[in-house]
Symmetry: C2
Subunit: 231 residues, 2 copies
């Protein structure tokens, strides 16, 4: 990747949208491009944090390892997303583990320089505030989602919130291994598999590998709202 490409990628990030060109160049100087293989761990909870990241391609999961050794996915991020700003700006340590879910290309943006900018430029600070707020609201959603007792409710809600392609037959592409989706929804892969196959038998979905076609959204919506499955 050339310098120019690097800068244009940075420019595309919300934080740097309005940054003067000379400052952006300074940021670019201290930005590293990182290739991560699928499954590769980027950092672990408690590690000191001296940079934040942007996803150029691929995907990253932020997760915590629970006492029993299983993992709980906190966030699942795709191209264009940034992460670890909060760690950088507060405690200087990561509160979660991070790993690539696919082969990924990441930008590692030097924290010291970024901190300076945030501290001195109110617009940059506002931009950071904006992304933190987004993440907060997303987490509030997660908290509510996880509090739903029924596994099916959690999955239905998640499915319905995903962007669905196809007008006549809306389909959701799982951009995540099913085991990771299960971890995110706080259920076992077995349960996820069973729920999907039950729904398929009911005729509510068609499960095609990493693609789920939604055939009966009203029924799914009813499930998301916590109703037991009808008849």
């Amino acid at each position: 990747m050339t310098e120019a490409n690097l800068e244009s990628t940075l420019r595309g990030l919300p934080h740097f949208k309005t940054l003067p060109a000379d400052l952006l160049a300074q940021v670019a100087e201290r930005t590293k491009v990182v290739q991560a293989a699928a499954g590769e761990v980027l950092f672990r909870e408690g590690d000191p944090c001296r940079a934040f990241y942007a996803i150029r391609s691929g995907g990253v999961k932020l997760y915590r390892v629970k006492p029993d050794g299983r993992e709980q996915v906190v966030h699942n991020l795709g191209p264009g997303a940034t992460f670890a700003e909060a760690a950088l700006l507060s405690f200087g340590r990561f509160p979660v583990d991070a790993a690539a879910t696919q082969e990924s290309e990441l930008l590692e943006i030097d924290g010291a320089r970024f901190l300076e900018l945030v501290r001195s430029d109110a617009r940059m600070a506002s931009s950071v505030i904006g992304s933190l707020c987004m993440r907060l609201v997303a987490l509030v959603e997660r908290v509510e989602e996880l509090s739903l007792v029924q596994a099916g409710s959690r999955l239905a809600r998640w499915l319905l919130r995903q962007p669905a392609r196809g007008a006549s037959e809306p389909a959701v592409e799982l951009q995540l291994a099913k085991k990771d989706l299960a971890a995110q929804l706080a259920m076992t892969p077995e349960t996820l598999s069973r729920v999907l196959s039950r729904w398929q038998q009911e005729g509510w979905i068609r499960s095609e590998g990493a693609r789920v076609v939604l055939l009966d959204e009203p029924s799914l919506l009813a499930l998301a709202d916590g109703e037991a499955h009808p008849g």
Copy 2:
């Protein structure tokens, strides 16, 4: 409460620690003191947000009403805490409901003035960023907590994280009705009650109304780590 008291309370808030006196006075002018009775609803999800709040005394819960009508407590806040900054700074609408858990005295701080300050003053922005980060990390904890399968694990973890008074017999004061604590931990009040009485029989705690004496922290810690109860 006198003007001077109002300003000194504001000065005590993290956001205004370093604010010049004249600006603080301007903020104080647009701040209202609000009395809230126990259980009183302050605002509801989706309401437009034109101010943020600080708790002078009492307590406030932020919660979401789930589709089945039950509520999930997202945050439980005490004196000195501020809330609704994120709503003010991003969408302008509350993402949660808020209600006083006790008779409370709150400060309602005008949002427009605050927004101006955040947008113009990088230090104020940094302070906001700090509190948002704290809340983010707290929410990550909540997500992990809720993902623990066993109700006892969630309660044990919560208890051990509370400040405990008393050296020989550490005791936790529940500053929240048990039904609200149950809602926060995503369990029913019945289950909470049963878990407490079981632990009391095991000799691990002594449950005295809104006070829980921790008699056997190692056992509780083992539970928090997801182990099934020994013996």
